[in-house]
């Protein structure tokens, strides 16, 4: 006869196995928690797997917080803020960050801006202290502002040096014309050269209100410890009365083309078309459709016809979303015809069950690849939270992709891939305008 304890242990093991198997898909959720500090939403994903701690404080609103005159204020402000604070003068902050290998930097996108911290766990206390001081008490020394400004202006002047970055700027301008997202968060030479220290202080005062902020931390951090830190650093910030705003969709009634003549060995081509945002149920099928299009243009343009090294279809992720066709080609007309034929095929012929199944498997791999680092996991959680869906929605990514059907893919391809806005850098004589504006 078995001992009761052995039976119990086996029973426990079986139950544990069942629990693990059934709860495995939501493993990440089990480690993620949220709490509130004076209106500031804090999301903590406890990850005891490594030594790195990633923290990002997000300011909602993105370019909706900007005007043409203040575009570029965030990159300038964040750059200067790391060059000296009330409690950490320049020499001290430089020495401390170097000593600890801690990274603090700012990011400004069309959807949101953020200040990001990456450090190792033994340095988290000191790194947090500096991170908070950068946000709350930047010195904004005029000399440092001028220095940062000149560095940023040099970068802006170089945006046309590389055809790819120039092409993206052209495409953005064409696609978002008349939309709030026409503003570039990096700013322009004109705006950045005039932004004042007062404007930077006003930006901080107006945006550092807890109703507008989201803090995401991923790492081996205890909730009580983080709560204490957040309360001490941000507990006294005003709550404000921010209500999340989301940009309108971009819709074009006609196709468009903007060509810039430049003597290059090849032609750089990008096409923009509207795409559903993460807030839209079509986000997942359109994400799948674009990925299938990517695979097909690669095979047709590169593998079978050898017309280009770099044909692609991209699905962007902004809240006024778009997707792209992209290629560099010495025979642009021939190449675009092949790409359009692939779009037509996607719009008219259902994809096979096998192709769909394989693609979902590929998505699963890329989902995990995007979540390898703590910083990437923080960004993934934040993306859903900032879109107004709650970070918990991020846990449904895989399930949502698995629900996509062949019919969905065909439908969204028809619905969204139209009125493409093309930007081209290269030889205008090689561009058939009628062809490029035919879809």
């Amino acid at each position: 006869m078995r001992k009761p304890s052995t039976v119990l242990m086996r029973l426990f093991a079986v139950v544990a196995l069942i629990v693990v198997l059934f709860l495995a898909p939501s493993r990440a959720m089990a480690f993620t928690e949220e709490f509130d500090v004076n209106g500031l939403k804090v999301i903590l994903k406890r990850n005891p797997g490594n030594e790195v701690v990633a923290a990002s404080l997000y300011i909602r609103g993105g370019v909706l917080n900007l005007t043409p005159a203040t575009a570029g204020i965030e990159p300038l402000l964040f750059d200067v803020a790391v060059k000296g604070t009330k409690n950490y003068p320049k020499e001290v902050i430089n020495a401390e960050l170097s000593r600890m290998g801690t990274q603090i930097n700012g990011n400004a996108s069309k959807d949101y801006s953020s200040v990001n911290l990456r450090c190792i766990k033994p340095n988290f206390d000191k790194s947090w202290d500096i991170f908070a001081d950068v946000l709350l008490n930047p010195t904004l020394d005029p000399k440092e502002v001028d220095l940062s400004r000149s560095q940023i202006l040099t970068g802006l002047r170089q945006r046309r040096d590389n055809p790819d970055s120039y092409l993206r700027d052209m495409g953005d301008s064409l696609f978002y014309e008349g939309h709030p997202y026409a503003l570039d968060p990096s700013g322009t030479e004109e705006s950045v050269s005039k932004i004042s220290i007062d404007q930077m202080r006003q930006y901080l005062k107006g945006n550092l209100v807890t109703s507008k902020l989201v803090l995401v931390v991923v790492g081996d951090v205890e909730e009580a410890d983080l709560q204490k830190k957040v309360t001490a650093s941000f507990g006294d910030l005003p709550v404000g009365g921010y209500t999340p705003q989301f940009p309108a969709k971009v819709e074009h009634a006609n196709a468009g083309l903007h060509t810039v003549a430049q003597q290059l060995p090849t032609n750089y081509i990008i096409g923009y078309f509207s795409a559903p945002s993460i807030r839209d149920a079509d986000y997942y099928p359109m994400s799948m459709a674009t990925s299938i299009l990517q695979q097909r243009v690669w095979e047709e343009v590169r593998t079978k016809r050898n017309l280009s090294y770099a044909p692609a279809a991209f699905f962007q992720g902004s809240l006024a979303n778009c997707a792209n066709l992209y290629v560099t080609a010495v025979q642009p007309d021939t190449t675009i015809k092949v790409m359009f034929a692939e779009v037509k095929r996607l719009q008219t012929q259902p994809i096979s069950a096998k192709e769909l199944r394989d693609k979902i498997t590929v998505f699963l791999t890329s989902y995990y690849l995007q979540n390898e680092t703590n910083a990437a996991q923080a960004a993934f959680l934040a993306r859903y939270e900032l879109a107004g869906l709650g970070w918990q929605a991020s846990e449904m990514f895989v399930q949502n992709m698995k629900k996509v059907t062949s019919e969905d893919v065909k439908r969204v391809a028809q619905q969204y891939i139209k009125n493409i806005q093309f930007a081209v850098i290269g030889d205008p004589m090689k561009i058939d305008q009628k062809l490029f504006t035919s879809m």
């Binding site: 060059k83 290998g101 220095l147 017309l307």
Partner: protein
């Protein structure tokens, strides 16, 4: 003892004798198969993926002019027909069936190929890699079709002014054996490449004792070693290519030179390059090189303050690229046409001070070491990318160099830094490339050619 147990012990014994565990650090496990294939496993279960990568000790350093670019073309041909996969279309389809994210890269001293997929597909992924690495067919029609794809890569590179600057500098810096540093190679070589040349590369370099299998992710090293032996253990050993075809050493620069590249760019860019140490000949200098680069990169360093905080440059970085056949030291800087002359003088004035006893503090020296060590922690976060790093070090310097890297950095002292600076920077000729717009060129005086 049951029959099963006896069988188990025999299999276990065979397996133990076929591989030997040589190293284990940072969750990195290395074994060597009997055929000479290094098997390196990086265990990191952060996500349920596995990355399988093959590194081959190949690249432009093995290429005389008539082969220049063919390591790279070979890399493209890897993803095409082999004895188990009839063509590239089927190759891509099989990749999708496994949920694969894949790619390959070619550099001076290594070529790597990598697949990432769900951890449960490890065996299938290894089998897929095995067929591709051991049995490529180099079908003539696929080779012909790939040529314009590769030249399309040239077109893109040559559309980038910074690439043109790098080419201009490298042609002067590696004046005798430029092909050995020209990874993309020559168009004419690509356009005339044939099956026989591909086979020559395969037979010469694609042998297990010139390769390493790396597997990272949610895997166990015992499981990987076993599968590696089963799947790749029969890959036949080959003659060491570096005995029969040793790549030449790059002769020292004889003189300093300035080259100018004019393109419509928005800033004046300086690329000042010198011959640095070869890692297998002077490893100590490579540790000193990395530490010095991190000292100078600190915003409190005299180098940064005098050049960037002063407003002379908007950006400056000194780096050393570790290689076996002379790694380059590069000072990359940006300024304006108005400040060009003063900025160039200031850079060379700073170089003269590198060996001054008070040029950097003890704290800055320690901070540089901390940063390098912590960067290692950051890079280990992404198992799918970290495996490329480990593979790079295996190819260029040997895995032991990497496993002892942080310990050796910690030992670097001022004398070693001074030795490195004096030998490779202060007393060495250089090539200075200047990328400037035609409009700005009118405003400044730049003497092209040999520096007197």
């Amino acid at each position: 003892m049951t029959k099963f147990m006896r069988w188990f012990l025999v299999v276990a014994a065979l397996w133990c004798f076929s591989t030997v565990v040589f190293a284990q650090k940072y969750n990195i496990y290395r074994t060597e198969l009997k055929n000479g294939l290094d098997v390196i496993v990086v265990e990191n279960p952060i996500v349920p993926l596995a990355t399988v990568e093959i590194n081959v000790h190949n690249g432009s350093f093995t290429e005389p002019p008539e082969y220049n670019g063919l390591s790279h073309l070979y890399e493209h041909m890897f993803f095409k027909a082999n004895e188990e996969i009839p063509n590239q279309e089927r190759f891509l389809e099989r990749g999708r069936e496994l949920g694969m994210s894949w790619n390959g890269t070619t550099s001076e001293e290594r070529v790597n190929y990598f697949f990432t997929f769900g951890k449960d597909s490890l065996r299938q992924g290894l089998e897929f890699m095995n067929a591709a690495i051991r049995t490529p067919l180099f079908k003539e029609e696929e080779l012909v079709r790939e040529r314009p794809v590769v030249t399309g890569e040239y077109d893109r590179a040559e559309s980038n002014p910074f690439y043109l600057l790098q080419v201009a500098v490298n042609k002067k810096l590696w004046y005798k054996y430029y092909s050995r540093k020209n990874v993309l190679g020559e168009r004419t070589t690509i356009l005339t490449a044939d099956h026989d040349k591909m086979k020559t590369i395969e037979n010469r370099y694609y042998i297990p004792n010139n390769s390493a299998l790396l597997v990272s992710g949610d895997v166990k090293h015992e499981q990987v070693s076993k599968l590696a032996e089963e799947i790749l253990g029969s890959w036949p050993w080959g003659e060491d290519p570096f005995v029969k075809y040793p790549p030449p050493d790059h002769p020292p620069l004889q003189q300093s030179e300035v080259v100018v590249v004019e393109k419509p760019v928005g800033a004046v860019t300086l690329d000042i390059a010198m011959h640095g140490p070869s890692v297998r000949k002077d490893p100590k200098a490579t540790y000193a090189a990395d530490v010095l680069s991190y000292i100078l990169g600190q915003h409190n360093s005299k180098f940064y303050k005098n050049l960037v905080d002063s407003g002379l440059l908007t950006y400056v970085n000194l780096s050393y690229y570790t290689l076996d056949k002379t790694g380059p030291i590069t000072i990359f800087a940006q300024t304006t046409a108005e400040k060009y002359g003063t900025a160039v003088k200031a850079i060379f004035d700073e170089i003269k001070k590198f060996t001054d006893p008070d040029y950097f503090t003890d704290d800055q020296l320690e901070s540089a070491k901390n940063q390098l060590e912590i960067n290692e922690v950051y890079s280990q976060e992404r198992p799918s990318a970290y495996v490329h790093t480990v593979g790079f070090w295996w190819a260029v310097a040997g895995l032991d160099y990497y496993l002892n890297y942080v310990d050796n950095l910690r030992k670097v002292n001022r004398d070693e830094i001074n030795y490195y600076v004096q030998k490779y920077i202060q007393n060495a000729p250089y090539v200075m490339g200047v990328l400037i717009s035609p409009k700005d060129r009118q405003k400044v005086s730049i003497k092209e050619g040999v520096v007197q």
